[in-house]
Symmetry: C2
Subunit: 130 residues, 2 copies
């Protein structure tokens, strides 16, 4: 789709399989997106900093996540022509409109982890997995 082919008015509905909203939802409702975007909430970061701060993320997954977020206009990537090149990631204005929402998701997970663990143990007990 070219820019001039963008429908004049998109009726966005994430429940429709072929609505592009489904793809956007897939990007932002993603644990790596949440973790990356929150780290960029206050300051720019380098690839190596993001990799170190998000324990357990693979090089490939971080690269994919950053590329997807850049393509969706949520983060920017700036290359400084030093030797070796210095690359920095930052939120774009569009990314800034999303950051607080994603932060709330992370906070909910952390605040409710005990309730979820208790539910899991009760479920596994009833289903013979304990």
């Amino acid at each position: 789709m070219k820019l001039n082919e963008l429908p004049e008015k998109i009726t966005a509905c994430a429940y429709q399989e072929h609505c592009p909203t489904r793809l956007v939802l897939n990007r932002i409702a993603d644990k790596w997106t949440v973790l990356v975007m929150i780290l960029l909430k206050e300051e720019t970061k380098r690839f190596s900093e993001l990799k170190r701060e998000i324990e357990g993320i693979s090089q490939k997954m971080l690269t994919q996540t950053l590329r997807g977020l850049e393509r969706d206009g949520l983060i920017s990537r700036t290359v400084y022509p030093t030797v070796p090149p210095h690359v920095e990631y930052a939120l774009t204005p569009l990314g800034h409109t999303l950051k607080d929402l994603l932060y709330t998701i992370k906070t909910w997970s952390e605040a409710n982890i005990e309730a979820v663990l208790k539910a899991q143990m009760a479920y596994d007990g009833l289903n013979g997995k304990s």
Copy 2:
């Protein structure tokens, strides 16, 4: 982990690879979770209703999503002993604390789809994919 083995105080941090918060974040930061939970926001639903309303979700993915949400204590599953059995899904009190947040994510996706599509087209143009 048994219920009595739950650490007295969990210091939850989604950035730690082995913190259970990472798993919870993985569940709730998921497009299918968002779409299912929002449909249950106002009323209980049957499997077939959820399947029909979420275009393109497979039987297997919906089953997995519902089972995961039930295990995490976010939805309940009630079986009525009719012939054939009638099964209904509903949000639990814990699920109710999350629904508005997930609704906001869907709303953000729908409201910003044009900005994201424009960013994607610009990115693809610069990267020779247009």
